[in-house]
Subunit: 392 residues, 2 copies
């Protein structure tokens, strides 16, 4: 199935770049636990990351090895490009085991078989699903191994996108446009927040006339009213009221690739203060998009934003964006480059970022975001959606 999404040559290029990094870091193997990295290298795609699983890449071996739960091996056979013998699975008594069996006991056996048990092994020490216990069990099982933290190794390999990856991100952007329109259309005085969330979800998954949408790595967020400064609260039964600002942040998703988009709408007649804030955010984001091109640093992009809004007396020094693309819950970010002061990552063609600056007055917040790809001489925003304050 994965070969329909990307051809095998693309997986081989990804692997070969990853193996090059292993050699540079003098590593014998890495254990890849982040589901996005597992997908990137092996094509694996399933909602099974609530149990322990991994893809093992060694410096020497051609193909990676997928390790997961027996119940999910069929899913690995269906979605990865790997040969059957490279799909290994542990029995169900390793799952929430009363017998003190742990999936990492099984994985340690695979590493022994691969003859790297006394080698230098990279672990994604800060990846969401690589737990503290996974680490201590690997330590207990492999006392001769030397472990290194390779949390971002594959993330940095992922940062420049292929044409096919960009195609899926553009498709995700089309879905984002539809879902944003659905959300803006649905919001109104007396409408419960959950109804708007339902409309957005329907659009996110129904996709376009040509293709469907995948589940996004983060649910649609729409902080409103007094809560525009609490960006990660989710919808409730509350009804929107006249006078509510509402920030909608969402992302379409296609084959696990995202293109996030944020806009702000206002229920009723917006106060002049918010209109002004919108103009400033638009000017700031456009200034930042204007300077972004290959050779420019992430911090220089943030600086363009910051200096623009400073003209209006607004002083903020924030992270206003991050590299992203392929992802699984809980996050679509890649955790590598950030658009913020101090980040000296140099932009290169085909890097992709979500830039989401905002300003907050005493009472209300305002955000406008764009997902962009760095081109040979500038940037291209993936979605086409008016940059302005909407009203409902």
């Amino acid at each position: 199935m994965s070969q329909e999404i990307f051809d095998e040559q693309e997986y081989e290029r990804r692997l070969s770049r990853t193996r090059e990094r292993l050699r540079e870091e003098n590593l014998d193997a890495i254990v890849v636990s982040d589901p996005a990295n597992m997908n990137y290298l092996a094509g694996y795609d399933g909602w099974s990351f609530y149990v322990h699983q991994a893809v093992v890449v060694t410096a020497e071996r051609d193909e990676p090895i997928w390790v997961g739960r027996e119940m999910d091996a069929g899913g690995a056979r269906a979605t990865t490009w790997l040969a059957a013998e490279n799909i290994r699975s542990y029995s169900d008594d390793h799952v929430h085991s009363p017998h003190d069996l742990h999936p990492m006991d099984y994985l340690a056996g695979v590493l022994e078989e691969l003859d790297v048990a006394d080698g230098r092994i990279g672990l994604e020490m800060d990846a969401a699903y690589f737990t503290a216990k996974s680490y201590t069990r690997l330590q207990q099982n492999l006392p001769e191994a030397e472990f290194e933290d390779t949390t971002l190794l594959v993330g940095w390999v992922r940062i420049k996108k292929s044409d096919r990856e960009l195609e899926y991100m553009r498709q995700a952007a089309e879905i984002s446009e539809n879902a944003m329109q659905a959300g803006i259309d649905a919001i109104g005085e007396g409408v419960p927040e959950y109804e708007v969330a339902a409309e957005i979800y329907d659009a996110l998954i129904r996709g376009t006339d040509e293709f469907g949408g995948d589940y996004p790595s983060i649910v649609p967020l729409m902080p409103s009213g007094d809560h525009t400064d609490t960006p990660h609260l989710t919808w409730t039964d509350r009804e929107f009221e006249d006078g509510d600002p509402v920030i909608i942040e969402l992302s379409g998703c296609r084959h696990r690739y995202h293109s996030p988009l944020a806009r702000t709408t206002f229920v009723g007649d917006p106060p002049e203060e918010l209109e002004e804030a919108a103009d400033i955010v638009v000017e700031g984001i456009e200034a930042a998009l204007e300077v972004a091109e290959p050779g420019v640093t992430c911090e220089a992009v943030e600086e363009a934003w910051r200096e623009t809004i400073a003209q209006y007396g607004i002083e903020k020094e924030d992270r206003i964006g991050y590299s992203m693309g392929l992802g699984y819950p809980p996050d679509w970010g890649e955790h590598t480059a950030s658009i913020r002061p101090g980040d000296e990552t140099v932009l290169e063609e085909n890097m992709t970022f979500h830039m989401i600056p905002g300003i907050w007055t005493e009472e209300i917040g305002m955000e406008i975001s764009e997902t962009f790809v760095v081109t040979d001489d500038g940037v291209e925003t993936l979605a086409e959606f008016p940059r302005k304050l909407f009203t409902a």
Copy 2:
């Protein structure tokens, strides 16, 4: 906000039972990282678990302390019942930091301030979002502390539900019924899988006429055709075909409480083999529900299922259910009691389980599930949905 969902007395009862467990285990404090446990003890509810956060409970102190990202402190003030001084947050340069700052450096400072830095501290070593790096950073910061694995400590406190919790699970069950009906109605020859997913999602979030739905901890799953044995693959652009069996597993969600439900439908005229399998699954699940009551062990419930299907020559020894309720992605399970051979957990009134047995022939799979609460003399299933094979 949390006080509208549960009153403060309920949180105090939860805390007092948790503190009792701390004393039994001779612990000075626990660091609670599982978002479901954080919600259970503090009421916190936000999609912020992609950064490190925790609730700290000490054996001595009345109120827990919420620790998270500065950007989310407003969300903590809005959703928890905690006093403002018990909401602590780290600055954004701890997030994907280029300066080697880690949120656990900040959390270690909180533990020092609480005077437990040289004490026995429980960590949820195998909780999804408690990473290996979180653990090693706490070790580095607190060399005098003695760490214990308390992954399931709060989970076992959660296993018996209060009346209010059951009320939310019953509401979730109503949503599950609506969403299952929407899914079954939508499936048909030539309909793409994503359209069915969109209908289900719309129903899950639109909820009922009385209240809306929350996002479920697991996306709706609908393995079909050859893939009924790959339970965790998600929807694609594929169109359903005549002759496809489709297993739908979903859960409504209300205030983060779930009531999962699975049914099987068939596109076209089902083969006799599948009709027979359906009858066997129904007989098996009914036998298991019949024996379940306070005083009976989890393994005895599984045995009733297993012995029933054995009469038809089917031999399987599986986990067929698990304790569940409150949850966040990636999982709605509590990871404590399982309905499987060897689990001697004794059922008590107000425990809640999702029982999801199934049988697979050479070609096709068949599942029917029920979420039930243990009553004083048996069980009550939360959803009312016909137990049978559906056709489309």
